[in-house]
């Protein structure tokens, strides 16, 4: 299935990005190229292969439930473009 300009617009919207019409055209073409490249994999018979969710062969990497020091609030807020002494400040959001 080909990627259309609509798909690109949808993905851009989900990513909260704005593109010019030109860029949208360009991405549509690029997406299609990437997908057709990936379609090469369809030539392999994977019917007897278990789905793989992770490439590293590790499991059960866990930690004990023990409190570690957190960051000082001032440090946590340091990168924020807008803040009070205790809070991050963002443009008003109404609902989710």
């Amino acid at each position: 299935m080909d990627v259309t300009i609509k798909d690109v617009e949808h993905i851009a919207k989900l990513a909260k990005l704005n593109f010019s019409d030109e860029e949208k055209e360009k991405f549509t073409a690029q997406f299609n190229e990437i997908l057709s490249f990936m379609q090469k994999l369809d030539e392999l018979d994977t019917s007897k292969v278990e789905p793989l969710s992770h490439v590293i062969e590790l499991e059960n990497v866990m930690r004990e439930d023990v409190v570690k020091p957190s960051l000082p609030t001032g440090d946590a807020l340091k990168n924020a473009p807008s803040k009070t002494d205790k809070f991050f400040k963002v443009p008003k959001v109404i609902e989710r």
Partner: protein
């Protein structure tokens, strides 16, 4: 209009906040009420280049919950990223489980008012992290506190087996009892430790396909869930009956007006583009781990209720009230185990004292029963004193009030206030004699057939003994004397 030809189909999603010490993927404290943005670190702030590491206790809690709700524990489960943008979610995705959740295919049993039992199926229980908190009501900007961001949750998803607001209420109550008995969640819905969203549709009875569903959010108490669902079921029913159609949408419940109203719908809101989180490796749970958790499972609310009916011969009503909260049940059992005279009557007495006197004061003062002034051992002793004949139930009331005031032991209260019951036959006999002599007219009338006056004599004798005469002894002696006078 015939309501009965329709049935409601309801599924609930419950988010339960876990009582772990630390967050899901970092060592930040989960403690509630700390200053804003003080329980945060590079991991839960979503800084680039950090690696989340799973909290082992969360996995244990999930297994506990799965076992308690008859789920199958998945031997191999993975985490996924749920992608969306919101200021309280700094990473731009929530780590959750999508494919391969940790528990699947369970059920919870509810019991309706008419005593019929019903199983509500569970599709799945999965682990995920909470988002932070946005504070909206200050000026033009929104303030964000990320202390809650990353706090572990279990999401419990029911099958669409619920048919009414009442059933939803009972189901939630069961879930709440189970998580609090397991000690994995404090179960407080008003404070958001338990949150509930509902999917509702209606269909003609006998129809197997599902109707168009709506989702209801913002129901922050058990009663609100029941009321919101009833309101929504009626709304859909009226829509369909008037030839209209139900629109698939998300609704918010307004408790003040008892109405549901559409949330401004966010376009493409449900495109979360889940994919396995490459930062987190699979969780593999073998039988040994499951069995270890199973061995540490506490008795669950329904089991405990049934045991109270069996072991203490309590009525179902009592058993339900006593086991509704684990702390209350523990309190009751401590009284029972402290009793010297272990009889069914004493078990019932203990139940009465807890259900009426103790819970009344606990609710009035809104204290936790664990912090209640009167300790279970004091009540055991008080009940023993009644059953040994040292104090009457009437005087026990005074002992109870004094324990509540001073916290003293029943024995010292009985001594100090001279509440000891008068159980000496000759002494009571003397008072009976005095009272009869002092009231010759009444005695005459009694002999003449006015037997109601018996109560009058009892009252007079009690007055003279300041309520301390052993009532049974008093009754017997009085009757003997009056009978003798009659003949």
């Amino acid at each position: 209009m015939d309501w009965n030809k329709y049935e409601a189909v309801i599924g609930l999603e419950v988010h339960s906040q876990m009582l772990t010490e630390t967050k899901t993927f970092c060592g930040c404290s989960t403690k509630f009420g700390n200053p804003p943005n003080s329980n945060v670190c590079p991991v839960c702030l979503g800084m680039p280049g950090v690696l989340p590491v799973l909290n082992r206790r969360l996995v244990e809690f999930a297994i506990k919950m799965g076992l308690a709700t008859n789920c199958r524990i998945t031997p191999y489960s993975i985490f996924a990223r749920k992608n969306y943008f919101y200021p309280d979610l700094p990473k731009g995705y929530q780590i959750s489980q999508f494919e391969e959740p940790i528990c699947v295919d369970g059920y919870v049993e509810i019991e309706k008012k008419d005593g019929t039992q019903k199983k509500i199926g569970l599709v799945r229980i999965h682990m995920e992290e909470d988002a932070g908190k946005s504070i909206h009501d200050q000026g033009k900007e929104t303030l964000v506190d990320l202390n809650r961001c990353g706090v572990p949750l279990l999401e419990i998803v029911s099958k669409p087996d619920i048919r009414s607001g009442e059933e939803a209420y009972l189901y939630l109550q069961q879930i709440r009892q189970i998580v609090t008995y397991l000690g994995i969640c404090d179960g407080n819905m008003e404070e958001g430790s338990l949150r509930c969203d509902a999917n509702v549709s209606i269909r003609l009875r006998g129809e197997t396909r599902l109707g168009t569903k709506t989702e209801i959010k913002n129901m922050n108490s058990f009663r609100n869930v029941e009321r919101a669902l009833d309101v929504e079921i009626d709304r859909q029913y009226l829509l369909i009956e008037s030839g209209d159609r139900v629109k698939q949408e998300t609704l918010l419940y307004d408790a003040d007006t008892n109405e549901v109203r559409p949330m401004r719908s966010k376009e493409e809101a449900n495109d979360y583009r889940y994919f396995p989180d490459p930062d987190l490796v699979p969780v593999v749970i073998d039988d040994a781990w499951i069995e270890k958790v199973r061995a540490s499972q506490p008795e669950l609310p329904m089991e405990r209720r049934n045991r109270y009916m069996r072991e203490f011969s309590l009525p179902k009503y009592d058993s339900e009230i006593l086991t509704a909260e684990k702390e209350v049940a523990d309190y009751y059992e401590e009284i029972v185990s402290g009793l010297k005279l272990k009889t069914e009557a004493a078990y019932k007495q203990a139940s009465n004292y807890v259900m009426t006197d103790v819970l009344r004061v606990v609710n009035e003062k809104s204290v936790k029963i664990g912090e209640f002034t009167i300790r279970p051992s004091q009540l055991s002793r008080m009940i023993d004193l009644i059953n040994e004949g040292t104090i009457s139930t009437k005087l026990a009331k005074e002992v109870f009030d004094e324990m509540l005031r001073s916290g003293e032991s029943p024995d010292s209260i009985v001594e100090k206030k001279g509440l000891r019951q008068l159980s000496d036959e000759s002494e009571i006999g003397k008072v009976v004699e005095e009272v009869l002599q002092a009231n010759p007219d009444e005695v005459g009338k009694y002999i003449g057939g006015k037997e109601k006056l018996f109560g009058f004599f009892v009252g007079e004798i009690m007055k003279k003994t300041r309520g301390k005469a052993n009532p049974k002894m008093l009754n017997d002696l009085l009757r003997q004397k009056l009978d003798r006078l009659k003949n």
